[in-house]
Symmetry: C2
Subunit: 339 residues, 2 copies
Amino acid sequence: MTNRQWLLASYPQGPASLETWTLQDAPMPEPGPGQILVRTRWLSLDPYMRGRISPAGNYTKGVGVGEVMQGGGVGEVVASRHPDWKAGDLAEAMTFGWREFAVLTPDMPGSAKVNRVDPDLAPPQATLSWLGMTGLTAYVGVLEIGRPRPGDTMVVSAASGAVGQIAGQIGKLCGARVIAIAGSDDKLDWCRKIGFDETINYKTSNDLAGALASLAPGGVNVFFDNTGGPIHDAVMRNLAVAARVVICGRIALADNFEQDDIGLRASSRLIVTRAMVQGLVVFDWWHKRDEAFARLAAWHRSGQLTTREDILDGFERVPEAFLRMMNGRNFGKQLVRVA
Amino acid sequence: MTNRQWLLASYPQGPASLETWTLQDAPMPEPGPGQILVRTRWLSLDPYMRGRISPAGNYTKGVGVGEVMQGGGVGEVVASRHPDWKAGDLAEAMTFGWREFAVLTPDMPGSAKVNRVDPDLAPPQATLSWLGMTGLTAYVGVLEIGRPRPGDTMVVSAASGAVGQIAGQIGKLCGARVIAIAGSDDKLDWCRKIGFDETINYKTSNDLAGALASLAPGGVNVFFDNTGGPIHDAVMRNLAVAARVVICGRIALADNFEQDDIGLRASSRLIVTRAMVQGLVVFDWWHKRDEAFARLAAWHRSGQLTTREDILDGFERVPEAFLRMMNGRNFGKQLVRVA
């Protein structure tokens, strides 16, 4: 019995493609003492993974050429040499990688820890989206950095995306007026359906900064930025005094690691507005997991948090799902149902 | 008896020049009830004043064409209709303007208040530099936003300037290693003399980012930015994880209000480093004045704070002093001794 896995074939120059990875049959791994063997059920596709397949410096170690692609997943324990885990248990971890079976070490610190999935709380794949890293990112980004107040105007870029959809809804719970920016009317219609107040299609708007100025005449108090690039500049031109800007993602330039990102320098606007800009990496906020998941679960149960997944079926489609997410063709959290 | 005053002749396109203002003889003003008449002794020249002679939006109202140029000063009361002020008292205020005599209203709120100068505490003009707005700017910028810790590396741009010299010395008091950036070796020699650890002459350095990387191999923990522009970009390329960036000034592009400031977008570096960038306008921190001045005075007395002024003599030289400051030809806080 073999274990299929996707290996990084080469660092992409520019956008990744189906050729970026190769499918390999590997021998079935065996768990050592304190380890578990899991069968992958779900894999998570996230923008941060583009940074892992670049040789550029980043906040954590990337994937080497010829190594198994990194990525989080959910799976079922099929063999255990750990006293607390038994066959049939469901496990979620950042360390699955793109493979059908993985050996995991549950007792790892911080973000490498293997987490138990409670199937009664939510569908297991929720631990990869709103009840997992994605939800935690939105939760701490909004509540710890953006800190919207009732009456604030909050802008979310990539607003229908995995993080954006949750960030905007938490903004609404804080009493903010939320402006969604996304790249299709379908996505924006859905943003309205889940309660966002205003929408801007950045692909069809000729003057994004002007559109924002119309929708936010008093300025933008909180900006939850998932894209970077020209959308970022347009919002920065519209900051209110004492605004807070959460730099969560940079999907607009996700394929560019080598060249400088040239655009509007924010300094002058930051002085005029005394605004604050802060970068967010969710791993710094791991200590907030229990709090975040309890709140997110309660909001989900009560109907105050609606989420949407974009699911492809089949292990062989993982690279396709990655490209789909990178190109913004996903509509909601991008997942692959492996088995 | 007449009162000479400098009026704004026109908004400068690009750099201001001696033609930006015209000298006018006005009638001697008379104080109304609750007001005082002061004779200007010192005037303060500061980069923020460039923003006041632009029609571009800013954090406060600017000078209209034909109006008296705004600016802070120190003077002696020559007539008083306020019960708490008498002839001979020394007054400091942001509202002197470029005129030999001014009528001031002591009981104004916030930054418009007229402050009593204690000549026994320090030379009166200190209330325009280290014991005034300049000192408060450095104090809150470093201690409230930059927050250096012992062992941190802190970079100060325009390091020998009015704010920079104080910011760097407060950084030293916090236990930080301070790297000074300035535009002449004379200025940098003095920065070393007052205790800064390392220096970079941005005018003679071919590779500012590289020079910083050599001097700060562990990255820059605190960046106190007085310049904006390419110096800003070079430091942003060298931020450490969890760095704090104080955007205090933008003298490098002070004459540019109409065009976009194009350069390095910080987003990617901010994600990788989870750094925080915040704009500073001193008027937000007026409530910290008493604390700041008490500490600054104590440090000055004990020899832990050394300051340097750049003084021109004569009311007719105020525009010249302004241009000197804008061009970086000043060496320390730029002042004019009026009488």
